[in-house]
Amino acid sequence: MTMLESIRRKLARDVRTAIDKPAEFRADVEYTIEGVKRGTISPRDVLIPAVSTLATLAFVFVLLIPIYWVLMIALQGDGATLYSTDSAGLIPKEFSPEAFVWVVGDLYIPGAIVRIAVPFTDVVYYFEWPRIVFLDASNYVDTTSDFPRYFWNSLFIGVATVVIAMSLIVPAAYAFSRREFAGRMKLLYGYILFTQIGGGLGIAALIALYTIFSSTGLTNNKLVLAVYYAAMAVPFNTWLLKTYMDSIPVSYEEAAIMDGASPFRVAWEIVLPLAKPGLATIFIFIFLTGWMEFIVAQLVLRPENYTLPVGLFSLVDTYTVPWGRFSAFALVYASPIVFVYMFAQRYIESGLSFGGVSG
């Protein structure tokens, strides 16, 4: 739980910084104006940064305009289509949650009856609770999307991928980091190479992959797809976790060995707990593989097993779905990733400094 605690503390600090920032900024501005009035700061020193910052901000806005545009369209609900004459502008005329309701559908806890029999007696208790509805979509829209189904498929595949991949990667990363064995350097070297070009080779092997899956009757199987994702996640994540484990001082383990701990206990009780941040990073990366992968998923899955990316593409490819609803679907699909990323950014960036890259 220490890790959750530290995440909580960091989030709290980020929020506090965000709240303090405007006041700080105002103080800075006031100080600068004061300085200019008194003549201690030359207007030129103020003007140039101000103008170039504003210009940069405008440029960045133009750069990211597609994302802003999608957000605006989604917020306008059904009113926004690409074909009408009075909508789809950059400044929305009205807001409506309709598109998002269409995506999410009914939100409820299903009703159920639970039967509990007390052993060795005839006493049986029944617990019953009704369907608890948070949001009834039929009040707002005629139909709802398949988002919930796709979501559960994606979640199933994501969790299965993480479980399988972790059981392959963690022991291997430990061995690479702490043990010597024949071919260690060559294997590691090969893994790093495949980190870079594995994606391309994976697509090139697509025809054979589909043939193999079809001939052996493994298409449209979520678990098989999860195994595939897990296998593809091996090189990069093994290498990443290995580099993280390298940064853990060996002295802790030596102390434990001196105290008579077995190699297994050293790994389990010393290295793994210390490697938690590294484990968390690869957890996110592996989960996102399944969450984002499209090409193989759309090749082998049938509609009932579609994952979110395939579902998203099936929307854009049919032309029947209004643009507002499509945008809302896309945003609900992608936004969790952005939040995770925003929070994890500083750790991911520092963890990703390749040997040859950092100058």
């Binding site: 992608a334 890259v357 100058g359």
Partner: protein, 309 residues
């Protein structure tokens, strides 16, 4: 033997991962090679055949070994050369754009004159965090032929009539380039920023004292210092451009017609749209040879293995 095993026992921690990776990476690649020498198509390859080398895995259909026939017909097909040509054009142009734009943006967000650089940096690399299928479907909407597609609204500002972007070969190719640049610039920016920050300030100050203008400083101080990491990033991103599949697939299936099918999409469509698995596999293998060359270039030029221990 027993001594060897006890010396290398840690190898057994690595083997399961290696096994699964090989199963889903090398085995399909080998099978691609096999398919490229056969007349495989859905009607034959999914039949239960007599067995043979691959029969062991339950994979042998009734496809026949045809030798180099697929390669001959692929290499003598003008459509293949069109696809390869457009792919190379895409690689050259998109890498140039990506590198230039990446350096420009990186200079912008490390410039002394801009305030709030850290926040700017985390904002501009947002496209990196988005799933590719999300961004590419969004860009497809941007280039919608409808009157209020974002691209058509943008050109309307300049008084131009709406265009149907995907129905003209070079317009469609241009949309691929723009989208590819937008997808890849965060990677270039991250690498260029870290390279720029490693340029010693003394060097730049010395150049200023000597009276060198901005362009001189850029060419003679900045460029030599960031050349190596940017080269390395360019090689990697070139490999990504070469294997670009999603953009043409989502936008208009490499159309209009088959004019803009990048090589991987060409192989994919040959197999799954026109049912020629053997020819598709031959195209994919040809592409793999090029990827292999990229790989070697990355090893030689980028010294990828530096710091492996």
């Amino acid at each position: 033997m027993r001594a060897w095993i006890s010396d290398n026992s840690a190898l057994f921690l690595v083997l399961p991962g290696l096994f699964f990776f090989s199963l889903f990476m090398f085995f399909p690649l080998l099978f691609t090679i096999y398919l490229s020498f056969t007349d495989a198509e859905p009607a034959t390859v999914f039949q239960d055949g007599p067995g043979g080398i691959t029969g062991f895995f339950g994979l042998r259909g009734v496809e026949n070994f045809v030798g180099l026939e697929n390669y001959v017909s692929v290499l003598s097909d003008p459509a293949f050369w069109n696809s390869l040509g457009i792919t190379w054009l895409f690689v050259v142009l998109s890498v140039t754009l990506k590198v230039a734009f990446g350096i420009f943006l990186a200079m912008l967000v490390t410039s002394d004159r801009v305030r709030g650089k850290r926040y700017l940096r985390s904002i501009i690399i947002i496209p990196w965090a988005l799933p590719p299928i999300f961004t590419i479907t969004i860009w497809r909407g941007v280039f919608s032929s409808a009157r209020f597609g974002l691209a058509n609204q943008a050109i309307a500002v300049f008084g131009m009539a709406p265009k149907s972007w995907f129905n003209d070969r070079w317009l469609a190719f241009g949309t691929y380039l723009l989208t590819e640049m937008w997808l890849a610039y965060p990677f270039m920016v991250i690498i260029t920023v870290s390279a720029l920050q490693a340029v010693p300030d003394d060097l730049i100050d010395a150049a200023k004292v000597d009276g060198a203008g901005f362009i001189h400083r850029f060419l003679n101080v900045t460029v030599p210092s960031i050349k190596r990491p940017v080269m390395f990033a360019a090689i990697l991103t070139a490999a990504a451009s070469f294997t670009q599949f999603l953009i043409p697939y989502v936008f208009n299936r490499g159309g209009p017609g088959r004019a803009n099918e990048l090589i991987i999409l060409y192989g994919y469509r040959e197999a799954f749209t026109f049912d020629a698995y053997g020819a598709g596999a031959a195209i994919m293998m040809t592409a793999v040879v090029f990827i292999g060359i990229f790989m070697l270039a990355a090893v030689w030029k980028g010294q990828l293995a530096e710091g492996v221990n």
